[in-house]
């Protein structure tokens, strides 16, 4: 294989890893503060993507057609609407179930995910078909030998890095991050410190859901297409990534996202090479199988030796 193609795979893998990491961080944050698995997380991402798409169509219809302004508003509406939705889900669905068996939360959010998914399919105009997602970023290209760099992809990569670094700084350097970590390590003692427990939980769910919405918009901008089922796949992948890294550990989730993308990339390169009859679409099968093997080998995740590690 030539170097240019390898570079192309690498860039694609990095892009996917970034998106998965952003989804996985949400799973891990939610588990950190409340010990819950929120299965509707992927579908919140999908609703965020459609909210962004609807914003774009709305702006077009009123004649606002500067791509940068459109982009700004698409991201702003999508992220803030999903942050609010995530906090509302925490307030009215997850916190009330706090003292119920964890399976109830799992089931309730699983059902909520279906409700969100089916609602978009039924009520978004022509919602059951894939939707084109607008190209809002400049698509200029640079060629380096056989490697083609596109400006929009570089911007998306930079945005992903910024989002992840931003989350890292928020968690490690701010008072809010300190409170989130305190709640994750010991919720009751955090309350004794005077931390408003419920408020921190809502903010954490808002943060994770806003991040997922950003990931959804980035995913749409990257593929220039989205559909009502996108959250199901990204949700399962994000959840796998979070488990890979050891649920509850933010850096584990980020690492897990990149590992999953690496496995997918490996699958799409190696499978057709080794077994010519297997198309590269089987990369997901390959990646999920590999995850199952890794989970059997390291049941508590790759970097969570200490099961008490949180956020």
């Amino acid at each position: 294989m030539d170097l240019g193609l390898l570079g192309q795979y690498l860039l694609n893998g990095l892009m996917l890893g970034m998106i998965y990491a952003m989804v996985a961080v949400g799973f891990t944050l939610f588990f950190g503060v409340l010990d819950v698995i929120k299965f509707s997380h992927g579908d919140v991402l999908m609703v965020g993507t459609f909210a962004g798409l609807a914003t774009y169509l709305g702006l077009e219809s009123v004649g606002i057609d500067s791509p940068w302004l459109q982009l700004l508003l698409v991201v702003l509406v999508s992220v803030s609407a999903m942050a609010v939705l995530g906090a509302l889900i925490a307030k009215f669905l997850i916190l009330p179930l706090k003292d119920a068996p964890p399976l109830n939360t799992l089931l309730a959010t699983l059902m909520l995910g279906s409700v969100l998914r089916e609602s978009v399919r039924l009520f978004y105009p022509n919602g059951s078909n894939p939707k084109p997602f607008p190209r809002l970023l400049p698509t200029d290209e640079w060629s380096l030998g056989t490697l083609t760099l596109r400006v929009d992809n570089l911007i998306l990569l930079a945005a992903g890095v910024a989002a992840i670094v931003g989350v890292h700084l928020l968690i490690t350097r701010t008072k809010l991050g300190l409170a989130i970590r305190a709640v994750a390590q010991d919720g009751e003692t955090a309350r004794i410190m005077g931390i408003n427990f419920e408020w921190i939980v809502l903010l954490t769910f808002g943060l994770g859901s806003g991040l997922a919405a950003l990931a959804g918009v980035m995913n749409g901008l990257y593929y220039n297409e989205t559909n009502f089922g996108i959250g199901l796949l990204l949700g399962v992948i994000g959840f796998s990534a979070a488990i890979l890294g050891g649920l509850g550990n933010v850096y584990g989730a980020i690492l897990g996202g990149f590992i999953f993308a690496g496995l997918q990339t490996l699958g799409s390169v190696a499978l057709p090479a080794v077994l010519p009859s297997v198309p590269s679409a089987y990369k997901d099968v390959f990646a999920f199988t590999a995850v199952i093997v890794i989970m059997a080998w390291k049941p508590t995740g790759l970097i969570a030796e200490k099961s008490s590690e949180r956020v």
């Binding site: 008072k175 300190l178 409170a179 009751e188 309350r191 410190m193 005077g194």
Partner: protein, 235 residues
């Protein structure tokens, strides 16, 4: 002021009442102790005050204001801090972060820095270990973190639940000295302890809990030769 009044509270976890009709008073500026053997309801009393397990009946007043059904962070905001049973340091955080959390409700960095200096003065060891994860420290050092963290709140009333549990005699003695010093700084103390003699030596007044009821009350001197005290522990 730091006047805590508890009036006829009954507290339960599930069905069975753990505290039954408990009334007591913590006078400003004093060290008031709660004595009682294991399982008599001392920690439950503290949970009631902090709003972690609010009482089913009765009321709790702090400086005349009812705090009975406030959320815990509001109760803390009224000037109460707690050094919980078992120390409960945040294990995956540095000593500095643990101490910062003690002053969570204070946003003035200068005030926080001043309090940190005071805590470092009382526990020089914490200054040396400022970057160490609290979970990797010895029990005695964790006790310092937990006490220091309580002081970082600069509370009017400091509630301390069994600070010497599981510590070596040397640390236990040091702990009692520290509590006395804290009180001399003007902080009112509600102290829960099993160590009857050392506790009564520093306390001004106290109560004895037995199976969720107050069975004796009085000054430290009165309690020291009270039959109920002996009965509650050894009877």
């Amino acid at each position: 002021m730091a006047h805590l009044v508890i009036e006829n509270i009954t507290t339960a976890y599930d069905k069975a009442d753990v505290l039954q009709d408990v009334s007591l008073e913590v006078e400003p500026g004093k060290i008031t102790c709660i004595l009682g053997s294991n399982g008599s309801g001392k920690s439950t009393l503290i949970r009631s005050i902090l709003g972690l397990t609010p009482p089913r009946r009765g009321r709790i007043l702090f400086d005349g204001q009812p705090i009975t059904h406030l959320a815990t962070h509001r109760i803390i905001a009224s000037g109460i801090a707690c050094i919980p049973e078992g120390r409960k340091v945040f294990p995956k955080m540095s000593v500095a972060e643990n101490l910062r959390l003690g002053a969570y409700q204070e946003s003035d960095q200068a005030v926080v820095a001043r309090r940190l200096d005071q805590v470092h003065e009382i526990f020089p060891r914490l200054k040396e270990r400022t970057g160490q994860f609290a979970g990797t420290m010895s029990g005695g050092e964790q006790a310092m973190v937990s006490i220091g963290r309580g002081l970082m709140a600069a509370p009017k009333l400091l509630i301390i639940d069994e600070p010497s549990l599981g510590l070596s005699p040397l640390y236990v003695k040091e702990n009692f000295n520290v509590i006395r010093r804290i009180n001399e700084l003007g902080i009112t103390v509600l102290l829960v302890e099993q160590n009857v003699h050392q506790t009564l030596a520093i306390a001004h007044a106290g109560y004895v809990l037995l199976q969720g009821r107050v069975v004796a009350r009085g000054s430290a001197a009165e309690l020291a030769d009270n039959e109920e005290v002996h009965a509650a522990y050894f009877g």
